[in-house]
């Protein structure tokens, strides 16, 4: 049974989920549990499905209200997000919005964290295209840090820190593109080589706040970023994709600005960036690339 413990020295929650140690690990293609009529999706065909994770990191009862869901993007095992039609990515965004509202509406859930791990290099155990949603009973540390910074900036200046950073990035050498209400760039202080941040130009707090046009724009923008990685590296590139949104604890969170962060683990096509001594032990990232150079490289294929 999962549980969470609070580390008193760092003030951070740690999740324990021992059942996950025995979860399905890189099964043969014909044994994929996410394919139609498999053990997780007992349907002959589907577009997008969501189900409760059989091996949750949180919940469903400890702590109360927490939960972990798996979101399967397509019935086609061999595809990736980058290979989906725009219409399917648009459907995926509508599903994200629905899950954000529904899970965030649970009184115990303070944060709905939507993400995708792609590739064995970032720990994927099932290659069928899918993402995950964690309904968390606390605001996780990275979101908390960002919200604190943007909240203090809002109090001091009356402006959104994300909006200001976005304006600066779009004028500078790390800009990737701006189209259909969305903008993407390699951030000034990128921790990961080829890290990309993708924002709606309008100040929107969550994916559920995006209007129809912005959802189409986000669908196309996600395809451009994910496809650019594949084209630049020359293979189906692994990454972690993380949505940062407003917490769902009932506050207004005017300082929150939806964005999607991509962290590919490659520092070049034949080398991985590892989170090791300095990152794990000291909390400081060392990046072997310059954001301005990786931005130029990605711009050439995006």
């Amino acid at each position: 049974m999962p549980e969470v413990r609070l580390d008193p020295l760092r003030g951070q929650w740690v999740a324990y989920a021992t059942e996950r140690n025995d979860r399905t690990f890189l099964p043969a293609e014909d044994q994929c549990p996410l394919c139609p009529s498999g053990p997780e999706v007992p349907l002959d065909e589907f577009q997008v499905v969501v189900f409760e994770n059989r091996f949750p990191a949180f919940g469903p009862s400890r702590p109360p209200g927490a939960g972990c869901e798996v979101i399967v993007y397509t019935a086609q095992h061999e595809l990736t997000l980058a290979g989906l039609p725009a219409e399917r990515v648009r459907l995926l965004i509508d599903v994200w919005a629905d899950r954000y509202r529904e899970l965030g509406g649970r009184p115990e859930v303070e944060y709905v964290y939507i993400f995708e791990n792609k590739g064995a290099e970032v720990g994927v155990t099932l290659t069928h295209p899918h993402g995950q949603i964690y309904a968390m009973p606390f605001v996780p540390p990275f979101a908390e840090l960002e919200l604190r910074a943007s909240g203090e900036h809002l109090d001091r200046t009356g402006r959104c820190l994300h909006c200001e950073e976005l304006e600066k990035e779009l004028e500078g050498p790390r800009r990737l593109f701006e189209a259909e209400g969305m903008a993407a760039f390699v951030p000034h202080a990128a921790r990961w080589p080829y890290e990309v941040h993708l924002y709606p130009r309008r100040h929107q707090r969550s994916v559920a706040d995006l209007d129809d046009s912005e959802r189409w724009g986000l669908a196309r923008a996600l395809l451009r970023v994910a496809g650019a990685y594949d084209r630049w590296f020359g293979f189906s590139a692994p990454y972690v994709m993380a949505l940062h949104q407003a917490p769902t604890d009932g506050r207004g969170w005017p300082e929150a600005h939806l964005h999607v962060e991509f962290y590919p683990p490659h520092r070049r096509a034949d080398r991985l960036k590892y989170v090791a001594g300095v990152e794990l032990g000291a909390g400081t990232f060392v990046n072997d690339t310059r954001p301005e150079e990786t931005a130029a490289q990605l711009r050439s294929v995006i």
Binding site: D94, D212, I302
Partner: protein, 39 residues
């Protein structure tokens, strides 16, 4: 060099319909099936 732009989207008067069906699995978990009508 001009930045490549995606093809313009077709004009839409309203957001596409999201169909949603919740299925209870034998082990007590839920499965939610999402889709577009006619897709």
């Amino acid at each position: 060099m001009a930045e490549p732009q995606p093809a313009p989207l077709p004009a839409r008067e309203e957001a596409p319909t999201l169909e949603k069906q919740v299925i209870q699995l034998p082990d007590g978990r839920y499965l939610i099936v999402y889709g577009r009508p006619g897709a």
